[in-house]
């Protein structure tokens, strides 16, 4: 029986709900048991575990310490969800002065201690696997755990939502209806839900980091604006859900790489 711990940082618990689904509605309960989770059990301190699933981004020093201690006590760490891998939608505040942000929401901002830029956990520790999604796909988690119990891991395929649309035989919403869609730069895994409902993808699984640079990203954004997407709205996808990739590409451009 593999021991699993479930950690939540700064996030909405949506990925944890998918974990709950995976853990109670599939056969993996034969091999896995949740020994630590503040949401699901009364366990005290976290001990040594086989697998740690971490949801959420790191917003303060206390969470950074927690993530490092989890890494030390877990044989295998999986980052689950866009918050843990990309920083999450809360990363949209990264370009603003944190004091202004705090002051806009709290009458007494001095009591609130939080980073200006939320960190994906991949900035703090090495992870063994990253499962994208907002929320993650519960079936993908079941797949991961089934293969892990057999001594392997899922093959990581770097592809975008377009590939999923093609496999499902979905009509491209951009080509057929002129709808702005971020599918061409968004990490696959959702099953192309938005295009199957006739709307454009808004990038909630994060932006791919291979075969993309700052110029290509800007050219693509300009094309989406031509199709009717608002520039401010695009920020939600690029500087929000895709923050980690966006900041990597921007930094790479500044450093003169690519």
């Amino acid at each position: 029986m593999y021991k699993v711990s479930l950690i939540k940082l700064t996030s909405c618990s949506g990925c944890i709900s998918e974990v709950v689904y995976a853990f109670t509605y599939s056969d993996i309960t034969n091999n896995y048991g949740i020994v630590y989770s503040t949401e699901l059990t009364d366990s005290g301190e976290m001990g040594e575990v086989d697998i740690a699933l971490i949801e959420g981004s790191v917003s303060d020093e206390q969470q950074e310490k927690l993530v490092k201690s989890v890494r030390a006590k877990a044989k295998f760490v999986a980052a689950i969800g866009t918050c843990a891998i990309m920083g999450g939608i809360q990363s949209m505040r990264a370009d603003s002065d944190i004091d202004i942000v705090k002051g806009a929401v709290y009458p007494e901002p001095q009591y609130v201690d939080v980073y200006g830029v939320p960190k994906p956990i991949t900035d703090v520790i090495n992870v063994d696997f990253a499962l994208p999604g907002c929320p993650i796909n519960g079936d993908a988690l079941v797949q991961l755990l089934r293969k892990y119990a057999l001594g392997g891991l899922p093959v990581v395929i770097h592809e975008v939502v377009c590939a999923t649309c093609k496999r499902k035989g979905l009509e491209c919403v951009t080509v057929s209806k002129g709808v702005p869609c971020l599918g061409p730069i968004t990490i696959s895994g959702c099953g192309a839900i938005c295009p199957s409902f006739g709307r454009g993808c808004y990038g909630c699984f994060g932006i791919k980091h291979s075969d993309l640079n700052k110029e290509k990203l800007e050219a693509f954004s300009n094309r989406l604006v031509e199709l009717g997407a608002g520039r401010e709205d695009l920020e939600v996808s690029i500087k929000g859900f895709g923050y980690k990739t966006y900041s990597m590409l921007t930094k790479a451009a500044k450093d003169g790489r690519r």
Binding site: S17, V20, T38, T41, K102, A104, E108, G138, I193, G230
Partner: protein
């Protein structure tokens, strides 16, 4: 002494202030790091905001999509087709089922049967556990068909939905409702028969009001723009702008709500149940009475009865929706309007009244005000826990009770970190440079 809250959504702790070994007061601390959604939406279009706010909560995200869409529709005067409107309500009720069964089985039941987690109960009673899980799995399928996925649904927009599902997909999930209802009633019957030993320990004299939404047609609360509290009906702006006062406390990232700054109030299943018990389907009331339960519920600890009633009621409403579904409605598109608008609306999320207020100018959000249900319950949690436990010896039983009180409220701490007091909206004009 401080203890981390378990079996609640989100990160929080309970602090017991001691005086010579006895409980003086209890304070619930929300330690969730804020994500500043009221700031993030500034400058975005209303269409995008409908998707953004869903990320505030992982269990009741659809409530956020729903109330944001409806608030914008009402103020831009966008009409929604009747079948599309009932489709959205059905999706929202499917989420209510998901949220309630999640709480009843995974979070609350361990307290009622004395296990540390749902896994303990799963070992003792696998059949009933399977019954509960079957309801969760079915609610997930319904949400996938009507909304796209179980959380962060994609199928809600201003003006209605992006796509009306195929009749065959709806029939596929509708077929399972019969057996799901049976499973639910098995589980519910068992849970309703549980009686706790420290029943009397929960009685308290603290004055706590109950608030729910109100419709003039006396329907069981779902969504609307009027609040009912102590027999008085308020408009949303009266209630949230004037009657409720907001306080930030130094130990918590969440803001507390108090009536006129003094007394606390409770929103959620118990308030809805006590106010509108007679609006529940007759089958629901008969089922409860057969197990010895009736309105009014006297203690928050009995909220699970209200959750069971609401889940049963939602399943019956969904049954009617499936029977009437034609799949012929055509979704409409709304065009954003020029000018300045104040858009506000409220929905009964699983945990209580969720209120949104946006100021929109020329198609962009200028300010945003979100009051989540748990934000409203935090003051009541403190008051009830303090009144119930004051004077007791600080021992493991007292600590356990402090945690049980939190669980009974079904708090959603990730949501609660969102409340922008109306009084500082004016500061926005200088801050965002708009």
């Amino acid at each position: 002494m401080k203890t981390v809250l378990t079996r609640v959504e989100g990160e929080g702790s309970a602090v017991i202030v001691e005086r010579e070994g006895y409980v003086d007061s209890v304070i619930y601390e929300v330690s969730e790091a804020p994500r500043f959604f009221e700031y993030l939406v500034i400058g975005k279009s209303p269409e995008r905001v409908v998707d953004i706010v869903s990320r505030i909560c992982g269990i009741c995200g659809t409530s956020y999509n729903f109330v944001a869409s409806t608030a914008f529709e009402k103020c831009f005067s966008v009409d929604v087709d009747y079948e599309v409107a009932t489709l959205r309500e059905a999706l929202h009720l499917a989420e209510r089922v998901k949220s309630h069964i999640l709480h009843l089985f995974y979070l609350n039941l361990p307290d009622l049967v004395g296990t540390a987690s749902f896994e303990g109960f799963l070992q003792r009673n696998p059949e009933l556990a399977r019954d509960a899980v079957a309801v969760l799995a079915w609610s997930r399928k319904v949400m996938e068909v009507l909304g796209g996925r179980m959380h962060n649904v994609v199928n809600m927009k201003i003006g209605g939905v992006h796509k009306v599902p195929d009749k065959s997909d709806v029939e596929r999930v509708a077929k399972e409702l019969g057996s799901v209802m049976k499973s639910f009633l098995e589980f519910a019957s068992f849970t309703l028969c549980l009686r706790d030993s420290d029943e009397s320990a929960w009685k308290t004299d603290v004055r706590v009001h109950q608030a729910s939404l109100y419709t003039p047609t006396y329907e069981y609360p779902h969504h609307g723009d009027k609040v009912l509290m102590d027999g008085d009906v308020y408009s949303l702006s009266e209630f949230y702008g004037n009657t409720v006062k907001y306080q930030q406390v130094p130990y918590s990232t969440a803001i507390h709500c108090r009536i006129k700054g003094v007394e606390s109030y409770v929103v959620g299943p118990i308030a809805r149940f006590n106010h509108f018990y007679s609006s529940l389907h007759k089958e629901v009331r008969d089922f409860l009475r057969a197990h010895g339960w009736e309105a009014p519920l006297g203690s928050v600890k009995q909220s699970y009865v209200a959750r069971i009633a609401e889940t049963f009621d939602a399943l019956l409403t969904l049954e009617r929706f499936f029977d009437a579904f034609r799949g012929i409605a055509v979704p409409r598109t709304a065009t954003p309007a020029k000018g300045e608008y104040v858009c506000e609306y409220a929905v009964e999320a699983p945990r209580g009244i969720l209120y949104h207020k946006y100021v929109v100018r020329d198609g962009k959000i200028i300010t945003c005000d979100i009051i989540a249900p748990t934000t409203q319950n935090l003051a009541a949690m403190n008051d009830i826990a303090t009144a119930t436990l004051r004077g007791r010896r600080v021992d493991p039983n007292a600590v356990a009770m402090v945690k049980k009180i939190a669980v009974a409220f079904d708090p959603c701490l990730s949501c609660s970190v969102h409340a922008l007091p109306v009084k500082i909206i004016k500061a926005y004009d200088n801050i965002a440079g708009v």
